[in-house]
């Protein structure tokens, strides 16, 4: 049969070549591929270790007016997603039908079924999201800890609090003031165009604009204006997903050196797309998450807090964000608020 069935023989030869790679996970030398965690060899938490009681207490000083600025987009069917990803909400409301009530007091109830991948909308990437081969944060050989339904190490249940200081860096202003803003015609308000590289010098210029010095335990948000395309869903979904302004590798390493806890942007990816080197896949993800245990927060609504910072000349706030203890998961949608 081999001689007469090319398709089968091709598939067979590929299977032979792949050998053990197919079903079992290839074991790589994780100590040579991924940095050791500064939080110890058994750590599964990552950078939220930096949010100590002292850090939270210091961050509380940012609450001066009590004004709350939303920083998450509405989670709704139709927002930009990739390829086969989907969201679907289904409402259970059967008891509202006449005669379907419960008890003498005619109690009714409703609940939802929400079908979705976890990395949709405004969401956080956990330590189990990105690795190099099967090596993940803290040199974890993830192949040993993957099951059909979840991960047995590095799940979101290991995270600590995000009650810390947030910092907004207005990259649109930085690029405008440097005279190098190249915008995208689909953006209704000024934005950095897809593919615009944000360097560490750009971030430092943005911090200097509001006299901010980063502190250990901060969460840094970059406003690129690209989120305006998200807000135009579904009309600009394809443009939004096709590219993004964002961090280059040097900027990511610089932020890691500042010992921040997370980096968020109003893009789907935080890093620049296309990458600095298009033969590399998501290198900034690997620098932040895999090597440094620093979270990535995507699709953040940054325009409101950027405008508020511009008015008040204050770019810092108390960050309100909680992450569900969803055991064995790699990421989740979140709500974020900046408390001033």
């Amino acid at each position: 049969m081999k001689d007469t069935h090319v398709v089968a023989s091709i598939a067979l030869s590929i299977l032979v070549v792949l050998g053990n790679v197919g079903g079992a996970h290839a074991q790589a030398d994780c100590k040579s591929l991924v940095k050791a965690s500064p939080f110890g060899p058994d750590d599964q938490t990552g950078a939220t270790n930096r949010i100590t009681a002292a850090v939270t207490k210091a961050a509380a000083a940012e609450i001066q007016t009590g004004v709350v600025i939303p920083m998450a987009f509405n989670l709704v069917d139709g927002v930009p997603l990739f390829g086969t990803r989907f969201t679907k909400t289904m409402l259970t409301s059967a008891s509202l039908v006449p005669g379907g009530e419960y008890g003498k007091n005619k109690l009714t109830y409703m609940e939802d079924t929400y079908l979705s991948q976890s990395h949709v909308g405004t969401h956080i990437d956990g330590m189990g999201h990105i690795g190099i081969m099967d090596c993940y944060y803290n040199q974890t050989p993830m192949g040993k800890f993957v099951t059909q339904n979840s991960i047995k190490k590095l799940g979101l249940e290991n995270l600590k609090s995000f009650a810390t200081r947030g910092v907004i860096v207005d990259m649109v202003k930085v690029f405008q003031e440097a005279g190098k803003l190249k915008t995208n015609p689909a953006c209704r308000t000024p934005c950095l165009d897809g593919g615009t590289l944000i360097t560490d010098a750009d971030i430092q210029a943005g911090l200097k604009m509001y006299n901010v010095t980063l502190r250990e335990g901060d969460v840094v948000f970059l406003h690129t204006g690209w989120g305006d395309l998200f807000q135009q869903f579904p009309a600009q979904n394809a443009t939004y997903n096709k590219a993004a302004p964002g961090l280059g590798k040097a900027a990511a390493s610089w932020l890691a050196g500042q010992k921040v806890v997370a980096v968020g942007t109003d893009t789907w990816v935080v890093e620049v797309i296309p990458s600095e080197d298009t033969s590399e896949a998501f290198p900034v993800h690997a620098i932040l998450l895999t090597d440094n245990g620093i979270h990535i927060i995507e699709n953040v609504r940054t325009d409101l807090i950027a405008a508020e910072a511009s008015t008040s000349k204050r770019a810092t706030f108390f960050l309100s964000m909680t992450v569900p203890k969803a055991v064995g998961t790699t990421g989740t949608f979140v709500n974020i608020e900046a408390i001033r």
Partner: protein, 345 residues
Amino acid sequence: MGLTEFGRVTALRLKRRHFLLAILAVTSSSRATSAEPQRFRVAFANLNEEPGARIEGLGFTGAEIRRSFELASRALPFDMIYYDNGGDPEKALGNAKDAISRKIDLLIEFNSDPAANAEIGRELSAAGVPVLAVNYRIPGAPLYSADYREAGRIAGQALGKFAKENWSSQTVVGAILGDVSDPSSVVTERIQGVTEGLKQELPELSPVRLDSAGHPVRAGGVLAKFLAAQTNRKLVLATLDDPTALAAKSAVESAGRISDCVIVSQGADRSIHGGASERKEIDPANRGSIVLGSVAYYFDRYGYEILPIALRMLQGAQVPERTSTKHILISAKNVFVEYPPYDMN
């Protein structure tokens, strides 16, 4: 490989010019610091950016090449100026003269006309501006180029190996499908390479040339006619570009002959591979395809390959007289390693 004579002279001139510029910068500007990198004005004159114009008989467009320069220059100390030669020697010469008038530090020239290239070389040399030639030689200038013969050889060898491993007891015929009557070296060298690669594995096999005149639609008809005459035979098919490979695959399917044919293409352009959600022909989830792969030319990465050479020239370092593209076979096994998809998050 040594620095060309032209390169040595211009490098010396540039060193002198940059030394003086550096002195000026330090003395005249209080904002200048030694940490600020020297920036260069670099022009790239592209072969042809006409929509629909295919580069070197492959599926790439001039816009893709230009985009690769735009992307690659983001992290380099270059202020880029772009020209479109439009496949026109006169226009290429005019662009080169304009670039000189704009006081560029280096010109990257992608133009296929030898006479115009010779004149461009003379003009630039007289102006003391170094040139880096792309795919076509310019006298005295270092060259970055695809290696068409090597790319063809990789395709031929892949087909031959497959036939040896899977059809050792069968009668195997070989064919090359595409614009085979094109006399330009970019095509003739590919055909020569395919033939050599096939013979390396199957010494008795001489591939038939099937002429589609560069039209994928016509390619399907030509192949269908050929297949009909090859009953009880296996076919190893080299296509000269990816759109032709896709048309050929369709023709093979229509003829009910997928058990009898394998295809290796040239180019690895975006018509044949794509992102994680796109499900193009060469895809990790499509490992049973009769399109075994396509030899990469990386025209969409030219900027990444060429601009670092330009930087070395501008810094006065030696560059080889010729740097060739590192062609490899892109298949379902390595496509996402070579072209990482970013349609996931």
